[in-house]
Each structure stands twice: as structure tokens, then as C-alpha cells.
């Protein structure tokens, strides 16, 4: 385990050193992240115009959801995108061979090779929005905060697993490199509390694409509205997805025959 930590430190160090060369990118990306956050808040203010509620959530409570959503967005941008989206390229060019030959778990190596610090702003803005809204809400208590942190970590695990499975399909569909855009598109539903959707939307975003467990459930726990069932549900989904994605990866590797062989 400590070996893995050490490797992550080396990988991230190298990755960051490269990115520090392009300093203008920081400013540009920061503006982009800020614009996106302002857009989300602006959108929310249109939906909750005149003190109305959004699926039973008032403006401040809904900002918590936007915060969790932005945090998840940041997680994808910083940790997932720069790593997992290279699986397709590896399969196509055959460079996956070198990864598989290393004396280390290939899934670990593929998932931790790079980090994109340009998107760290999203993580910070997400946390900022959550803290800002929490300070205005008296219902936020420490046990809720602890559970929310746990659920956010579970959300990271769920997103990672889904993203990883989508990228693993590259072993069969080499041509389809934009498949993660699909998840990305639907994940945008997570910037609203799931109760904002009519019945069929709620079912879709809870059971088919588990967006609700990733953003709404942690936010509920934080503002002291959490229910035991949904919290256990979110943890269960995360564990299940981790196991399934691992099995899927093993299955994909069995079918891997390298490029042009």
C-alpha cells in the first residue's frame, strides 16, 4: 500500500511539473471554471424565481447540490479525464502492452498516472459553494457533515467506476473515443435536486443513471434531511459499482489481443 502511495506521489509530481510550464493556462481555466459556476447559480436563480422552491429545496439548499455537483465535476476533470480517457488510445496504438507488462496492478497504473491541476479550481469552487450555503443553513450539524463527507467519497467511487467501465469498452469499440461524453451529458442532471424531476425523471436519474446518489443524497445528509435508507443505498451503489467495474476490467483484459494481432 505504501508503495502505491509513493508511486502516486512520483506520478503526480511529474505531471504537475509539466503543467507548471504553461502558466497562462491557469488564468484561462480559472475564468472558465468561474463562468461555469456563475452560470449554474444564475440558472438556479431563474428556476427559483420569486422565492419558489425547486422540488422542495429552497435557494440556499439547492446551492449545496450545485456545490456537490461542481466538486464531482472537478473530480472528473482533475483525476479521471487525464487518465482513463487514454485507455482508448492505448488499445488503438498497442501501447497498452507496456502498461500490462509492468509489475504493478494495471488498473491502478492506468487510473493514477496523471493529474490535471488546471481543473483544481472546480474542486475549490465546489467546496466553496458547499461551505457558503452551509454557513447560511442552521440545519447543518456535525453528524450530518461527517456522513456527507463519507457519501461524497462514495460518490467519487461511483463516478470513477462508471467512467472506468465506459473507457474499458474501448477494448471492443476502438473507434468510439467520446463515449464518456455520454455520461457527462446525463450527469448534468445532477446539478438539480432529484426531486425537481417528474416521476419518470426521478426513476431514470436514481436507478438507471445513479446521479441522485452522487449529488442529491450527500447534499441531503449535509442539510440534515438525510434518510438512513438513501445513505445506505448510496454506499451500496458505490461498492457494487467498484466490484462490477473491476470484474468488467478483468473480463476486458481476457479479450485483449493487442493492436494488429
Amino acid at each position: 500500500m505504501s508503495r502505491h502511495w509513493q508511486l502516486i506521489k512520483i506520478f503526480y509530481g511529474a505531471s504537475i511539473a509539466v503543467q507548471l510550464e504553461y502558466r497562462v493556462n491557469f488564468v484561462v481555466n480559472l475564468i472558465g471554471s468561474l463562468l461555469t459556476a456563475i452560470g449554474s447559480l444564475f440558472g438556479l436563480s431563474i428556476l427559483i424565481a420569486g422565492g419558489s422552491s425547486l422540488g422542495g429545496w429552497n435557494q440556499t439548499e439547492a446551492i449545496v447540490v450545485v456545490g456537490v455537483f461542481t466538486l464531482m465535476e472537478g473530480f472528473m476533470g482533475v483525476f479521471l479525464y487525464p487518465n482513463l480517457n487514454k485507455i482508448g488510445e492505448g488499445v488503438r496504438t498497442g501501447s497498452m502492452d507496456f502498461t500490462l507488462l509492468k509489475p504493478l496492478d494495471a488498473q491502478f497504473l492506468i487510473s493514477s498516472r496523471d493529474v490535471n491541476i488546471l481543473r483544481v479550481a472546480d474542486l475549490l469552487i465546489g467546496v466553496g459553494l458547499i461551505v457558503y450555503a452551509s454557513l447560511k443553513l442552521s440545519s447543518v450539524q456535525s453528524p450530518g457533515i461527517l456522513i456527507a463527507v463519507l457519501l461524497i467519497l462514495a460518490g467519487f467511487a461511483s463516478i470513477y467506476s462508471i467512467w472506468f467501465m465506459l473507457c474499458t469498452t474501448a477494448f471492443w469499440w476502438v473507434g468510439v473515443e467520446n463515449i464518456t461524453e455520454l455520461f457527462w451529458g446525463f450527469f448534468r442532471a445532477g446539478q438539480f435536486p432529484v426531486t425537481a424531476f417528474p416521476g419518470w425523471g426521478r426513476i431514470l436519474f436514481t436507478f438507471v443513471i445513479p446521479v441522485a446518489f452522487i449529488t442529491t443524497v450527500p447534499a441531503e445528509a449535509l442539510i440534515g434531511r438525510g434518510k438512513l435508507e438513501t445513505a445506505i443505498g448510496a454506499l451500496g451503489v458505490a461498492v457494487l459499482l467498484l466490484i462490477v467495474s473491476r470484474l468488467f476490467w478483468k473480463f476486458a483484459l481476457k479479450n485483449y489481443t493487442s493492436a494488429s494481432s
Binding site: A49, W184, G201
Partner: protein, 278 residues
């Protein structure tokens, strides 16, 4: 026939031949990427997400919100989705790639403005995307009963005209951003800014009726609502004829403005361009 007239006919024939070749070439190219195009289409799902949020909000409010009921929300956002799908452009990204990688050099040697390659790439892509869109629209009108997507042939024809102009706004705007790659390495970041603005201002997020009046007044002066909001209003038949005329003229004005800006930027940029290694 006068000699000048013959030359003119020859030119036209020449243009027609070139267009046919370009169309055949890029259409074949795009059919190869049909799976990716299908996924891009599915990923542009924001108007449909917003459709369900607004329908949820209307039903919580007793059925209607500012004269919009579930059926008219469904019609508006379905039309907005179609408008967004038909105006998709990625030329900024492509120009940035060609300029940074030096691929532009070989394009410049061809006896045709590199712009046309991009025009035909986008144009032929619509023919691959089109059948998928049609299936989704037909399915969509069945899923939400009573969707008021206009059956009026005139509205569809007006829409077909206006959506081409709307596409040109987005395309030429991106061309302008693309030419910035002559000066900035990461000009695609500007495209991302435009994308964010477009997400919230073009009309895929909410009909402009729901924007605060002060903000709406500002948004009307930007090109964004002419890409999604107004085409969607025309397709659903909720604009008066005089408003439709006004919208078409303003859209045309934006196309001209970005067209002129693009050619100015291009002229300066191309002087700045030195291929990799030059």
C-alpha cells in the same frame, strides 16, 4: 452567347462540380464516424434535462407557469434540442489543431479557401446526424402526449431557413475563435467560454420569457438567442409573422458581422502564420 456569359457559366459549372466532389468526399468521411456522431448527439441532452425540470416545476405549480403548460414546455424544449443539434459546430477546435500542428500548410497550397473544407465537414455531418434526430423527434412527440410541435408546413419551412442562418452564426463565431490560434496557443479556451455562455443564454436552459427583464434585454443584444431560442419559437409556431421577419433580419446581420470579422482576422492571422519548423 457572349464570351463573358460563357465564362460565367463555366465558373458556375466548375463550382457545382467542386461542391459535388467535396460533398461526396466528406459525406463518406462522416459516415465512418457515425457511432461517434450518435454519441455526440446523445450527449447534447441539456435541453431534455431542462424540459423535465420545467415540466416538474409547472406541475408543482398547478399545471402552468407563465402561460407554459407541460405540453408547451415539451414542445419548446424538443424544438430547442433540434435547433441545438442542427447548429453544432466544432470548427474552432479543428482550426486550432491545424494551425498548431502545421497541417494548415498543405491546405493553404490548395486552390480553395480552407474555410470550405470546414463548411462541408459540418454540412455533411448533418446528413449523418439528421436521421437520428428525426427518429428522436418522432419518439419525443409520442412520449409527451399533446406536444404542440407545430404541424404547420410554413413554420417548418421558416425554421429550415432560419436554422441554416443560425448554424452560420455559430460556425462563423467559432471560425473567429479559431483564427485566434494564430496568436494564442490555447485559443480553444475562448471556445469553452462561448460554450458556457451559450449553455445558459441561447435558450436551451430556459425560454427567455423566464429571464429577469433586465437580463433578457441584454441577452437580446447578443447572438446567442438567435441560435436556439428564436429558431425553437419559430418551429413551435409561437412567433407572429412580423416578429419572424425581424428575427430573420437580425440573424442575417449577425451572420454578416461574424463573416466580415472572420475574413479580417484571417487576413491578419495568415500573415502571422509560420508553419512548425519554419
Amino acid at each position: 452567347m457572349k464570351p463573358e456569359a460563357r465564362i460565367e457559366l463555366g465558373l458556375l459549372e466548375n463550382m457545382w462540380r467542386k461542391s459535388r466532389t467535396m460533398f461526396a468526399l466528406w459525406f463518406a468521411h462522416m459516415t465512418v464516424y457515425r457511432a461517434e456522431i450518435f454519441i455526440w448527439m446523445l450527449s447534447g441532452v441539456v435541453p431534455l434535462i431542462m424540459m423535465s425540470v420545467w415540466i416538474g416545476k409547472a406541475s408543482a405549480n398547478g399545471g402552468t407557469l407563465e402561460k407554459f403548460d407541460a405540453a408547451s414546455f415539451a414542445a419548446y424544449f424538443l424544438a430547442a434540442w433540434v435547433s441545438q443539434q442542427l447548429t453544432v459546430a466544432w470548427v474552432a477546435w479543428e482550426m486550432n489543431f491545424q494551425i498548431r500542428q502545421g497541417e494548415l500548410s498543405s491546405r493553404l497550397l490548395r486552390p480553395i479557401d480552407p474555410l470550405w473544407e470546414h463548411v462541408f465537414r459540418h454540412f455533411t455531418e448533418r446528413f449523418v446526424r439528421g436521421p437520428f434526430i428525426l427518429v428522436f423527434v418522432i419518439a419525443g412527440t409520442f412520449v409527451v402526449p399533446g406536444t404542440k410541435l407545430t404541424p404547420d408546413v410554413w413554420h417548418v419551412l421558416e425554421f429550415l431557413l432560419v436554422i441554416h442562418l443560425a448554424f452560420l452564426i455559430r460556425f462563423l463565431m467559432q471560425c473567429c475563435v479559431g483564427t485566434l490560434s494564430f496568436w494564442f496557443e490555447n485559443a480553444t479556451a475562448f471556445d469553452e467560454f462561448l460554450y458556457v455562455l451559450q449553455t445558459f443564454l441561447a435558450g436551451g436552459f430556459a425560454p427567455l420569457e423566464f429571464y429577469p427583464p433586465a437580463i433578457r434585454a441584454v441577452v437580446e443584444w447578443t447572438p446567442f438567442p438567435y441560435m436556439v431560442y428564436y429558431p425553437a419559437k419559430i418551429l413551435t409556431g409561437t412567433l407572429t409573422p412580423s416578429e419572424t421577419w425581424r428575427v430573420m433580419l437580425i440573424t442575417l446581420a449577425w451572420v454578416l458581422a461574424f463573416g466580415i470579422l472572420r475574413s479580417i482576422l484571417w487576413r491578419f492571422g495568415i500573415k502571422k502564420y509560420g508553419a512548425v519548423g519554419a
